[in-house]
């Protein structure tokens, strides 16, 4: 992410010294006045709560009795809690398989659409539409109905001689169904890929063609490196979002994470612990672990990005 701006930084060619410093003081005042809405929210709704939840994670707070300090007990018991470990497994599966599949679909379709042909706008919008509604309760209900025992998806597959015996009720199949739901929403990263592909100069491909490069080599040597900042952006954002899936899992499993815990996503378990059992200290520990894990992953992404993300010479 970029640092502070340079565009509006105009170190004026200074008329008189006192006037300049007066303006600077006025600017500082104005700056913080305009910043006030965000700053208030940042302190009251983000920093404050983060500190409190860090504190709560070391207590046994349950919303009704005063919190009692219990040290690292919550964190220790998390790793002995089978349901917690299961929720970690479920979420990891979802992130590790769902995100790359979704991005692969997004990239493939973006490359298909990246041409000057007619109907581009229509295709782009049609593929994007699921991203807008995919995380809603309505679609979760529809998904559940479609993937139910002998629902339309099963019927369609049995036409090809595949008999899976339902998805919703089968703990081995629910993950597949959740992953399909996220892959279905490939439109948003696709639109971003498409915008990135349009930035790649066409003459690069022409020159490569003249050198006799085939589509694979063009992809490896031109598309991938030129697109790598966009791939990086999509990968980071989609991964972080994938960790936070909630509404669909809640609806599809009736808020229980079933069958057999197969849709017990991390945030769903956090919700159940915090707002159903009111074990808020425990849930706070879960929340902080999530922050730490997401932070580490972000860090790893940024560190490794140096070896495969190429920013063009004039960094914009």
């Amino acid at each position: 992410m970029t640092q502070s701006p340079t565009l509006s930084r105009r170190s004026a060619s200074a008329p008189a010294q006192p006037r300049k410093s007066r303006r600077r003081g006025a600017d500082a005042r104005a700056g913080y006045t305009f910043l006030l809405p965000w700053l208030l929210g940042f302190i009251a709704l983000t920093v404050g709560p983060m500190i409190s939840s860090l504190y709560l994670s070391f207590t046994n707070y349950n919303l009704f009795d005063a919190p009692k300090w219990i040290g690292f007990d919550n964190y220790v018991s998390l790793f002995q809690d089978e349901r917690f470990l299961q929720s970690v497994g479920v979420t990891m599966q979802y992130v590790v398989f769902g995100t790359p599949l979704k991005l692969a679909a997004a990239l493939a379709i973006a490359m298909l659409l990246n041409s000057k042909r007619k109907g581009q706008g229509f295709y782009r919008s049609a593929f994007y539409a699921p991203s807008l509604i995919g995380a809603s309760v309505s679609i979760a209900i529809v998904w559940k109905a479609m993937f139910g025992d002998s629902g339309p998806v099963d019927q369609g597959l049995s036409f090809f001689g595949i008999n899976l015996g339902g998805w919703v009720g089968n703990p081995n199949m629910t993950m597949g169904m959740m992953i399909l739901l996220t892959v279905w929403q490939f439109g948003a990263p696709m639109v971003i890929f498409l915008a990135g592909l349009k930035q790649i100069p066409a003459d690069l491909y022409e020159a490569a063609s003249m050198d006799g490069a085939g589509p694979v080599r063009k992809f490896m040597n031109i598309t991938w490196p030129m697109l790598s900042p966009v791939i990086f952006f999509n990968l980071l954002m989609e991964t972080i979002h994938a960790f936070q899936i909630f509404a669909s899992a809640y609806i599809i499993s009736n808020g229980e994470g079933g069958p057999a815990g197969s849709t017990l996503f991390y945030t769903l378990y956090l919700y159940l612990r915090g707002f159903s059992d009111f074990r808020m200290g425990y849930a706070s520990a879960m929340a902080w672990l999530l922050v730490i894990v997401v932070g580490i992953i972000t860090l790893i992404f940024f560190k490794t990005s140096k070896s495969w993300v190429h920013y063009s010479g004039d960094s914009k």
């Binding site: 992410m1 640092q3 502070s4 701006p5 565009l7 509006s8 600077r24 500082a28 104005a30 700056g31 006045t33 305009f34 910043l35 809405p37 965000w38 700053l39 929210g41 940042f42 009251a44 709560p49 983060m50 939840s53 298909l112 042909r117 782009r124 919008s125 593929f127 994007y128 539409a129 509604i133 809603s136 309760v137 309505s138 209900i141 529809v142 109905a145 002998s150 629902g151 019927q155 948003a188 639109v191 971003i192 498409l194 690069l204 022409e206 040597n221 952006f233 980071l236 909630f246 809640y250 609806i251 009736n254 945030t267 915090g274 808020m280 706070s284 929340a287 922050v291 997401v294 972000t298």
Partner: protein
Amino acid sequence: MTTMATPTQPAPTKTAPAPVYNPKSESGTAKRIKSTIFHIVALALVAMVLYPALWMIASSFKPNSEIGGANTSLWSNNFSFDNFATAMEGIGGVSTLTFFTNSLILAVGAVVGTVLSASISAYAFARINFPGRGLFFGMMIATLLLPFHVVIIPQYIVFQQLGLVDTYIPLLIGKFLAADAFFVFLMVQFMRGLPAELDEAARIDGAGHVRIFGSIMLPLMKPALISTSIFSFIWSWNDFLGPLLYLNTPEKYPLPLALRLFVDQTQSSDYGAMIAMSVLALLPVLVFFLVFQRYIVEGVSTQGLKG
């Protein structure tokens, strides 16, 4: 990169260098065939991607007996509005119209709050030099990546102690305090793209920040304001976790929560009505999408790249 034979020439985008001996017409046919194949593949993919949505809409008009079971077809000879009539009746004595109104209140509140607070804060980041700006900007970006679950428990405790649970205040206050950093970021990026000479000139004319913001920046920021309005409306409309945490009385439920209640109570006994209500809940989003397609898709593609 490979060395290029051609110097900086405007890229010849349309006509590919046709092999010399080929008559022009033949390359034209080849092109047409390729284009037809492209459209067939693309349309097939569109059909596949849109099938769930079409299935949902078709099912909402079908009698219950035709929704489950061996029915993959989108067509029925028994289409009717019966499911919608049932869905509009609502749940537990609360009419679906009430849920709609609630969703609308929340969404409009979210739009007003977000547009106001995000544009004002973004002006500070983009146009005013003040000590600490870089630091705060970095923190704002960091909140984009922060899993918000780490703040919901303390927030809930505070709102509960203030007696604000089961009101809309916990759901709206964040919107008026620019808590969706995404929108602040979007507006900062947009404002940075506006020429700095604008405020220079206004300053020489003696305009202060309030006037520069109100009469120069805001009018020019229309595209960013529209994108923000559309997205904050849709996000609020679809939000589930917030209302689930804070609202207890069905009279105050927005649609997603009402839908969950509906699912709990009918539990697949009335599939048709359930799906009809899902369609109703998505209707405003779909209408928004059809009307503002351009803005929405354009918004995603530019905002994404600026990251």
